[in-house]
């Protein structure tokens, strides 16, 4: 019996990673390693998007893209040693190959920031995805108002992208606040405290400021409270959320928060659009 | 210069390798005279006979299977039979055939493991099977293939290879898949040349020529080469003894200088295992197995304990042909799920089965609440220990004048391994000592 419409193998393209070679790798901290990879063609990504990184035999993990969008066939990222796959990636160096697919998700839209004062709030590894946007903003510095970066981490030893932070501070047209929760007897020239603390001192103009933030789950609630206190409306706050993602394309269900898929609908959201989702913030 | 054998020395082999469980050999010689020979069981106690008290009938075989990984099927079958005897359950014909298959698969697995992995390296002068993987690749590959076949056989019949769960008191929880069973039969047929190659390999080994007559004890059955069932027969007797009388067969007795119970029947000691079975029931072996015995120079009665390895190979051939025939029979009859329920009640019963290492007895008593109140297991190795000691006491003085300490050590280890002792099973052996008559001078080990 021949069956109408049957026996046609579908073209299977998704979920297949391509291979990219590591050009540069460097330990930023004891548990965060920086990678720069060369690609066959530019990623064509937006800041805030992510890629699925593969190690054959171990699986995949979602990793934020750190480099700004553009024509360079390059991918920069910072990978935290926090699991079986990332532990192995930490042993990789120049010349080693890894699998990639993506970019995935909705990132930041630069149009939301153009002409405004821009405040970046980064907690720990949260600087990794935000660096993509910060670099994009600085590249077009003249098209924005004030540009402010609050970057916090637990101890001085855990700061990532230190040369970038230094270089941005030296420009003179970007306000950089670097702080740690605890200097722990280590040399530290920045401030000590939580990322919420400098917000009041920035004397933000609520009508002009747009905020982009990314950090550990525990950070959001307190920052959002502080921003509300500074009069900043939820529709001017963009949050980059972390969830467990297994497929990256809105199928596997792991990153679901209410009716949204973090991977597909996010990971960047306008706060006012998800403020009602109680599971989005702790 | 004094020759090696004139000096006084102690041979100590701690944690004898390539045996199941932990045992040590200690031999003291003084000026060429053996002062004592001692085998220490250094296995820690696990108290199976104590802690199974309180368990229900169906739990017993499932748990006592854990006495020994390598003999798990044997412990399961003997204990299942004992429990059934205690509470008056009679399994159906299909169940008995499946149990026989399970037992055959274990013989194939255990004998292949013992011959290839534990015994053969001695003959090749290799410390283990691993170096043989480089020097005798086909031998090792064949060993692995035959072992895998036997393991898959156990898994198809019993549900899995180790501690299988399909057999239980009264019946089979899930009957084997007929296609899978047919596939095993085909693989066994295809493997016949490999079993033949095993025979050829063993025919090249030089078996030490020592002989010492002893009593050989095994099950015996009027209709078949007794492996799963039968009455008990000693080579010194006419007729048979019932399994229920096992206590007066093992005659476990305490010796002043040892905490273990020793076994003896019609003489000072007896031997169980492949050699005992082949000696007692040679005529019932499959013709191909009888041919194999002839080819390997095993003529019954054979009184060389090192020939136990050869007897194992004879049984490998027997079990292979027997399995093929029995699977055929089972498939022809067809397998069906049986309905069976087991009602716990009071009673006592013993059960015995042949396991690769010899005769195994289990005995359980259940109280009015249907829970176990007393348990006993007499394992092949504990029955053999007395005989091993007597072999050593006999052979060491014979070898001492001509052998270096090193060779003597190796030969004693080989002798022990020839018995394929399973010390893991030592449910109630402790500090077994082989002493040359008087109070021995050694430390407890």
């Amino acid at each position: 019996m021949t069956m109408p419409g049957a026996f046609e193998p579908s073209p299977v393209a998704n979920y297949l990673p391509t291979t990219a070679i590591i050009e540069e790798a460097e330990n930023f901290t004891a548990r965060d390693r920086y990678f720069r990879l060369s690609l066959e063609r530019p990623l064509g990504h937006r800041p805030g998007q992510f890629v699925m990184v593969s190690v054959f035999g171990l699986g995949e993990a979602p990793i934020s893209i750190s480099n700004p969008p553009g024509d360079a066939p390059t991918l920069e990222m910072v990978i935290r040693n926090a699991g079986s796959l990332t532990q192995v990636l930490h042993s990789y160096g120049p010349g080693d190959a890894i699998g990639l697919r993506g970019p995935y998700g909705h990132g930041f839209d630069l149009h939301d920031f153009l002409g405004r004062d821009v405040l970046f709030i980064c907690g720990g590894l949260g600087l990794a995805p935000l660096r993509s946007l910060i670099r994009a903003v600085i590249d077009r510095r003249g098209e924005f108002g004030r540009v402010m970066v609050i970057s916090g981490c637990r101890t001085p030893a855990e700061e990532i992208y230190r040369p970038d932070l230094t270089a941005w501070a030296e420009r003179g047209d970007v306000d950089i606040v670097r702080l740690v929760d605890n200097a722990a007897n280590m040399p530290w020239k920045g401030r000590v405290g939580l990322v919420t603390e400098p917000i009041a001192g920035l004397k933000l103009d609520p009508a002009e400021t747009v905020v982009a933030m990314c950090g550990p789950p525990v950070m959001y609630k307190f920052v959002l409270l502080e921003l509300a206190g500074a009069g900043i409306n939820g529709d001017r706050v963009f949050v980059d959320l972390e969830r467990r993602m297994r497929c990256g394309v809105g199928k596997c269900g792991h990153c679901q928060i209410n009716d949204i898929y973090c991977c597909q609908d996010g990971p960047v959201f306008r706060f006012s659009e998800i403020a009602h989702l109680k599971e989005a913030f702790l | 210069m004094m020759s090696d054998n004139q000096r006084s020395y102690t041979i100590e082999v701690n944690h004898v390798t390539r045996v199941e469980g932990h045992g040590s050999i200690r031999i003291n010689t003084r000026e060429g005279v053996v002062e004592d020979v001692k085998l220490c069981i250094v296995e820690a106690n696990r108290f199976f006979e104590a802690f199974v008290r309180g368990m229900g009938p169906e739990e017993i075989p499932w748990i006592v299977s854990r006495i020994c990984g390598i003999c798990c099927v044997g412990h399961q079958l003997a204990s299942t039979k004992a429990v059934e005897a205690a509470i008056g359950v009679v399994p159906g014909a299909q169940t008995i055939e499946l149990r026989k298959l399970l037992n055959l698969s274990q013989f194939l697995q255990s004998h292949v493991l013992h011959v290839y992995f534990l015994a053969v390296p001695d003959f090749f002068g290799a410390p283990s099977v691993l170096p043989l993987a480089k020097t005798h690749t086909e031998v090792v590959k064949r060993a692995l293939a035959l072992k895998k076949l036997a393991n898959d056989f156990t898994a198809v019949v019993g549900g899995r290879t180790l501690h299988p769960m399909a057999n239980t008191v009264g019946g089979w929880r899930k009957v084997p898949d007929k296609d899978a069973l047919a596939a095993i039969r085909k693989r066994l047929l295809d493997a016949l040349p490999e079993y033949e190659a095993t025979v050829d390999l063993v025919s090249t080994l030089e078996i030490p020529p020592y002989e010492r007559d002893t009593e050989y004890v095994s099950l015996t059955h009027p209709d078949e080469y007794a492996l799963y069932d039968g009455e008990v027969r000693g080579s010194d007797m006419d007729g048979t003894a019932s399994v229920d009388s096992y206590l007066s067969i093992c005659n476990e007795f305490t010796v002043a200088h040892s905490t273990t119970k020793w076994s003896k029947w019609h003489r000072d000691s007896y031997m169980v295992g492949a050699l005992a079975r082949v000696n007692n029931n040679f005529a019932q072996l499959h013709p191909k197995a009888q041919e194999t015995a002839q080819k390997l120079g095993l003529r019954v009665p054979c009184v060389n304990p090192y020939m136990n390895n050869v007897a194992q190979v004879v049984e490998i051939v027997h079990c292979a042909y027997e399995s093929i025939a029995l699977i055929e029979k089972v498939l022809d009859t067809g397998l069906r799920d049986e309905d069976f329920t087991v009602t716990p009640k009071a009673g006592q019963g013993a059960g015995a089965t042949e396991v690769p290492r010899g005769l195994l007895f289990h005995d359980y008593t259940f109280g009015d609440d249907g829970r176990c109140v007393a348990a006993n297991a007499v394992i092949p190795t504990s029955q053999n220990i007395n005989n091993i000691e007597r072999d050593m006491k006999h052979f060491v003085p014979l070898m001492l004048p001509t052998m270096s300490q090193k060779d003597l050590t190796l030969h004693m280890e080989m002798l022990l391994r020839a018995y394929d002792p399973c010390i893991s099973c030592s449910v109630h052996m402790l500090d077994v000592e082989f002493v040359g008559g008087e109070e021995h001078p050694g430390e407890p080990c």
């Binding site: 299977v12 979920y15 054959f56 969830r243 | -």
Partner: protein, 353 residues
């Protein structure tokens, strides 16, 4: 659409005939009280009268519990060759009840969302559905009518509808027409009348009834985020995931690689996961977004009655098959949870007015 009439015996003959050429899966008794879809062979006992939703829903034939998505093979330093899995076996699922038919339709929506999932659709394309309209609730647990799936027939190739002691056979697709052509059935001139008879013969109400219409549930559930009921309904929960795994509209999966010992080759697989399992929402750093079983239960319930219908605009994602309540060892039933919430909502509204 072509319609026929035949008695059940003839229909079963026809299914056997199909099974001789093509793998056909049909719900058959399994164990003491359960059913599962099993491949039809000569020995299979086919009947429609006795039925209880199968342990696992037929969606396992479209998204297997574990499936390979591609193989990889190292071909040089850092170079890998990938071979995607292609599944082209044609299969027929027969005797599929309306609840499961609706679930398959919902899965079509899920896997077409965003990037269309090729693995799902290659199986879906190669699967024919022969549905069976239930003349009576399969047992006292079913609430398919209340969940809005009882009369579902979208997506079937052939629908079998019992009418009296005969069966109305309707081919809805070209493929269904090809399948039924071999049936040697009597043509049916007025299928609508037969359908009406079927409806008239059916008990009313049909099975258990939710205490509120499913389209009101999203709003009701939204009002009870912090309800103590969530805690009450997990007191006996093992977080074992059974409710997810037996659910025809649960589709979450995990991705795993299975490699050869030396890592040079292997395959990437995906296998079913379950949001009731403790670590489902744990991220790499160790934070668990739903560590509390009550939060996981709330997520599951809202997913079936609120989140996914909002996302896919499809009506409830619960099809009322009641598998989750039936298979739960401690009898936690999503039907009871929802009704409890509805009752509390009504009581609160009553108290306020």
């Amino acid at each position: 659409m072509i319609s026929y009439l035949a008695d059940e015996r003839r229909v079963i003959q026809w299914i056997r005939h199909l099974a001789a050429e093509t793998p056909v899966f049909f719900p058959m008794p399994h164990g003491k009280v359960n059913f599962r879809f099993e491949r039809v062979d000569e020995a299979s006992e086919l009947q429609f009268a006795r039925y209880r939703p199968t342990i696992i829903a037929p969606n396992s034939f479209l998204t297997p519990t574990k499936e390979e998505i591609f193989k990889y093979q190292r071909v040089g330093p850092g170079r890998y060759e990938l071979t995607p899995a292609v599944e082209t076996t044609f299969q027929i699922l027969a005797g599929v009840r309306p609840c499961d038919l609706k679930a398959i339709k919902l899965m079509d929506d899920v896997f077409a969302d965003g990037e269309r999932d090729p693995y799902y659709f290659q199986r879906r394309t190669n699967t024919s559905l022969i549905g069976y309209a239930c003349p009576a609730p399969c047992d006292e647990m079913a609430y398919c009518e209340s969940a809005g799936s009882l009369d579902w027939r979208d997506g079937v190739d052939v629908m079998l509808t019992p009418v009296g002691d005969r069966m109305l056979i309707q081919a809805y697709t070209e493929r269904g027409e090809a399948l039924t052509a071999s049936g040697d059935f009597d043509p049916c001139d007025d299928p609508d009348a037969e359908l009406q008879r079927h409806l008239d013969e059916r008990p009313k109400p049909f099975g258990r009834q939710l205490h509120a219409p499913v389209d009101e549930l999203p709003a009701i559930l939204e009002r009870h985020w912090d309800s103590p009921l969530w805690d009450q309904h997990v007191e006996r929960c093992f977080s074992c995931g059974t409710c997810n795994l037996v659910c025809p509209t649960c589709y979450c999966f995990d991705v795993k690689d299975v490699s050869a010992l030396d890592g040079s080759s292997g395959s990437r697989t995906r296998q079913w996961d379950a949001c009731m399992l403790t670590t489902f929402a744990t991220v790499a750093g160790g934070h668990n977004f739903r560590a509390d079983p009550a939060a996981r239960q709330r997520h599951r319930v809202k997913r079936k009655f609120q989140y996914l219908n909002e996302r896919y605009d499809s009506g409830a994602f619960c099809v009322g098959c009641a598998r989750c309540g039936r298979q739960c060892t401690t009898g936690i039933d999503i039907f009871d949870i929802v009704n409890d919430i509805v009752d509390h909502d009504r009581a609160a509204a009553g108290g306020a007015s």
